[in-house]
Symmetry: C2
Subunit: 329 residues, 2 copies
């Protein structure tokens, strides 16, 4: 069943059916009603594919992320999907993992599927390789990057200012009397580097020591957090504050600290990142940097829609996080 069948049954041309289906003017009331009746009778669903071919827009956007199982990305992906849905866009979800081939494959497929735009969530996508892949396959559509820093006419970067989150954390800890701070870096991206730099600068500003012991690298995760705390203990590092890593990693650190008899926050203060459910359920509850998932998700979506509708959009925008004070610091 297609538009021709509807037209025949309603006794009009396909042009008229098209006009009715798209709520356009210039259709006699009587014909419009006849068409609507036939449409309803068959629960007719027009083919968006055929439409897309001629209007050159699919009302579909690709959302690419490392892994939606990560609660932070799930929240952003959710917000994007919901926000875009109100503007009649659908989302093709892509979990690329960190493999470059996978990422390339996905971006190519999105191009084949003629998406109207792409949103890339996570600073891992801010790489030369991604930039080149976008140039190859997606230079004709807007690409909105979350925590990205790629410079292209068609790329728009909307970031959470995580460096500022680090500054807030250090300021707060210093004000509360903590002096020997450790930065736990649980990802490896330009954002992580910027955070580390902010940490170092802040320490220098306060005249606090920044040594080889001040930074611990790991990957995010509960077990990795535990391992970090054990490693610090094994190395005999003296510290009274932890900053920089995600809630889930920070939670691992807290658990291990408590298991080894440390009191939080009396002996060691811990501040996480993301203000996720993990910071709420931790014991003691965790002070955390809220990087505004919802604001970010809505911002990414709106930026995309604005570009698509021909409005001017800044190529770089930065959203400031906020420190949510709980018990762990």
């Amino acid at each position: 069943m297609n538009i021709y069948d509807i037209a025949k049954e309603a006794g009009v041309s396909i042009s008229t059916v098209s006009r009715v289906m798209n709520d356009r003017p210039n259709v006699a009331t009587e014909k419009r009603e006849r068409v609507l009746a036939v449409l309803k009778k068959h629960d007719y669903v027009p083919s968006a594919i055929a439409k897309s071919l001629v209007v050159k827009s699919t009302n579909t956007v690709g959302v690419v992320t490392l892994d939606v199982r990560h609660i932070h990305y799930a929240k952003i992906a959710y917000t994007i999907e919901q926000e875009l849905s109100t503007k009649d866009y659908n989302v093709i979800l892509c979990n690329t993992g960190s493999d470059k081939r996978e990422q390339e494959k996905y971006l190519r497929v999105l191009a084949e599927k003629q998406v109207d735009g792409v949103i890339m969530v996570g600073s891992i996508f801010s790489s030369t390789h991604t930039a080149e892949t976008v140039d190859r396959f997606l230079s004709h559509v807007p690409v909105i990057m979350h925590n990205g820093n790629l410079k292209r006419d068609n790329i728009y970067n909307i970031s959470s200012n995580d460096s500022y989150g680090v500054e807030l954390s250090v300021d707060y800890l210093v004000r509360r009397g903590y002096r020997q701070l450790v930065f736990v870096q649980d990802q490896e991206t330009w954002v992580a580097n910027a955070k580390l730099k902010a940490f170092r600068t802040k320490l220098e500003h306060y005249g606090l020591p920044f040594t080889g012991e001040s930074v611990v690298k790991t990957e995010n995760g509960l077990e990795n957090g535990r391992a970090v705390a054990r490693a610090l203990a094994d190395r005999g590092v003296n510290y009274d504050g932890v900053v920089g890593c995600e809630d889930i990693t920070a939670l691992g650190i807290m658990k291990e600290l408590r298991a080894s008899g440390k009191r939080i926050p009396q002996d060691v203060a811990v501040i996480g990142f993301n203000n996720s459910i993990f910071s709420e359920l931790s014991e003691p509850s965790m002070t955390s940097v809220d990087n505004k998932t919802e604001t970010i998700g809505i911002g990414l979506s709106r930026a995309l829609v604005d570009v698509l509708q021909g409005r001017d959009v800044p190529h770089e925008a930065s959203i400031f996080p906020e420190l949510i004070i709980r018990e762990s610091a």
Copy 2:
């Protein structure tokens, strides 16, 4: 740039270009190479939209879920996406929430976009309304339901046997000497009812009391779990075991119990559902029913692909969960 441009530049017909792009036989080696060269030169990306229109298949499937922010759904959605990706299908993600209108809107849009099939994740979708909506818009494509029980030729149900998970839980608790069990029901679907029935039957089997106090209804969530524990205390209910609800709810219950001085599992044993990160990080760590997220996700995906490829697929399949023993019971 389209297939005509490529054909012209390579000095062949569009038929030949099409054959080359689709790796089909009957192309002279020399022509094939000429075409490939032109394709590569331009990083040519053929339109999947145009292709879909003629082959009547989009290699796109709709995945509809209540809310991907829920970690359990995120895991299933992730697995589906990854599994389907290996079969060259893409996923349109839909978070419908519990609103019927929203659900209807999404299913219609999926039909418009000509998806090859739909996977619905979560027992909330097993309603008369969903069945009717599927009949209206999606009766021509396979619909795979996770934890569903709808009977249609084009609907396939793949469920985690959560009732069996309850039986495992009760068996285990009884074996360990617990006698006054409470069932916490934190969702309202046919699965929840089946779980409750299994709980009751098991208690009767063991000759244990099932009274008005044996069941507490709530919605899933940390705070709701806390509220459940408080309500039980306020009502002066004597109980030594909790069963039936999701990890996150169970975690709330455990936290509140501990805050009120109860020891887990000595005073009260708690068993959760989902074997999620929450059961791992809880203190004490939580015994939980593992309902095999990955198996489910892969099963849903394979069933869909099998139907699409004309293979026979059972209309009902049930995956048995497993009890993961930790410290809380």
